[in-house]
Amino acid sequence: MKNKKHLFLIAFRQLSQRKRQSILSLAGISVGVMVLITAISLMNGLVESFVQKIINIAPHVLVSGEKMLPLVPDQLIKPGKNSEVNFIKNVYRSDEEVIKNYKKIMDLIEQDSLVEMATPLVGLNTIGKFGTTTLPVQLFGIIPSSQDKIEKFKKSMISGNYDQLERTPDGILLGTSAAQDFSAKVGDRIQIVANNGNIFSLRVIGIFSTGINDIDGNVYVNLKLAQNIGGYPPNEVTDIYIRVNNLKKDYLVADNIKNLTNYKAITWEEKASSVLALFKMISMIVYFLVFFVVLVAGFGVANVLITNVLEKTRDIAILKSIGFKKSEITVIYIFQGLIVAIIGAAIGCLLGYGMIEILSSIKIASSSSSAVRADRLLMGKNLWYFTFSFGFAVLVSLIASIIPARNAAKVNPVEILRGEK
């Protein structure tokens, strides 16, 4: 049993004898593996590019003005003391969610060694007006120099000069979608209508395109101006964006902030959870369908083996009569399944590679309805797509081979050799 070369040879010769059928089932495996690799690449490419973009240009942790717990009144009453607390309701915009004394909060946040940097923002829902176009627009007040460290606007500028924003108190930066919606270009003056009806006339100093539709629909101004538009005092902002230096520990940063400040802090995974969940579900459906393709290919392998066993009962009987053991007969047919699977899967890997190359080189019209815009399919490329697909196809074929191979071992040589043809 040590040397299985002769078993392999028998398996191989029998397969070569039935060329057409063997090649057909081999092709089935190849196609299955190719489709599997392509699907994995496509789905992973989508998710990875999305995640990569988010990691690069979105805050890893986002702190917002929403209080996690009411600070009043139970926390003010020390247990066991019979003290009385007078709670005066804050009459100043209690419905707004703001971070008060944001500089102090930021100091607290930046003490965490996991935090790389933090930057304050004021986010407002406003109305934008340009020419005849009037549209609701999400406006953010930022500190341009530190905001750039998170959202990389400077790199994404398609016209204008990002640095100019800091020097222009009435400057406004447009995302490319927003610019398109208003048909505005650098140098134009856009009107922003605040909630209280005040109108601010702002000069477009640049247009950027990050590729993430959510961000590209926004407009950006200096923090002070936004506080002005929104009617916030200088020590109030609505959000703080944070970059961490270890992405795997972003949840620790968020937890820490929640504990320290009582403000709501969420990680990028939580923020993108609905999109990520959607991706996950689409992936599952695709993998499920592809799984069946490979399964059908496995049936192809089983089919070759079943016919081979049926047509080769005579040969099996001969092999048994010259001393081949049941286990050796089984191995012969398992080998047949494996030969078809391995060659088929290897070809499938090559085809899959080619498919990825072709698909990732085709230009497509970018769609603004997807989460991430791109001018071509974002295909993932990773060795594990190939090893996984290869392994999966071989495993399926191996399982498909077991029953026919066992039937082969069960052939009773006596009845066949007796020669009652």
């Binding site: 070569s16 001969i318 092999l319 010259i322 081949f324 286990s327 006596v414 050799l417 020669g419």
Partner: protein
């Protein structure tokens, strides 16, 4: 000199078949006892359906008796497991069948090598040399690289004989080896058997319908209805057999 290498004791073979709903059991060999000596060339004859093939397969460990015991060189083969039987068939027995059962995908030489490779005890090189030698013995040295479908029935049967001899079997078993051959080819096979017995002292048990040939062997066992009807030793093992 008369050492017994195969011994069958009260062997019974009954086959149970399920025919639709009812179970039909057929006794092919009711109770047979006989033994074979080393170097003996025996012929088993008898009418069709008398149980010759069944008996031969039992002796050669291809089949198991329902009752009774069979010994090969004092080891009871009727008590062995499937794995051991396979090894026995490989090492101790050589089979030749009525239909020249060769593996169609392999050349004559490779077919003869197969029993040697089965247990992996020899190297491929040694197996090839031995196979070539055996093919020479059966007069097929010039057909080494032919596939079975490029050979005549008689040629295929000689190669089957060479294959049966591959592992120097204790006993060569043949079931109507000339049943599918014309008289000239039949004569070739018979002479080959005689030569093997004479020159190598090869023990041979052959089932045949050919009464004339049966008389040329050392011993003629006639079977009717699974029972020994006649068992005559015409010559002593080792004595020359004249054609």
């Amino acid at each position: 000199m008369n050492d017994i290498i195969i011994k069958a004791e009260n062997v019974n073979k009954t086959i149970v078949n399920k025919n639709g709903g009812e179970v039909v059991s057929t006794t092919i060999l009711p109770d047979i006892s006989l033994d074979f000596r080393r170097g003996e060339f025996s012929a088993i004859t008898g009418p069709s359906g008398s149980g010759k093939t069944t008996l031969l397969y039992l002796i050669g460990a291809l089949d198991m008796p329902t009752n009774g015991r069979i010994f090969l060189e004092e080891k009871e083969i009727s008590a062995m497991k499937e794995e051991e039987l396979a090894e026995l068939r490989n090492e101790k027995f050589g089979f030749v069948f009525q239909f020249h059962f060769l593996l169609p995908e392999f050349t004559a030489l490779e077919n003869v090598m197969m029993p040697m490779l089965a247990r992996g005890r020899t190297t491929v090189k040694r197996a090839r040399e031995k196979a070539a030698e055996l093919l020479k013995q059966v007069g097929m040295e010039d057909k080494q690289n032919n596939k079975p479908n490029q050979l005549s029935g008689g040629q295929q049967q000689r190669i089957a004989v060479a294959r049966a001899l591959a592992n120097d079997p204790i006993v060569l078993l043949a079931d109507e080896p000339t049943g599918n051959l014309d008289s000239k080819n039949s004569e070739n096979i018979y002479s080959l058997f005689e030569k093997l017995n004479r020159e190598n002292n090869q023990t041979i048990i052959v089932v045949t319908h050919d009464e004339h040939f049966a008389l040329r062997t050392h011993r003629k066992i006639h079977i009717i209805d699974g029972k020994i009807d006649q068992d005559i030793r015409t010559k002593e093992p080792g004595s020359s057999i004249q054609s």
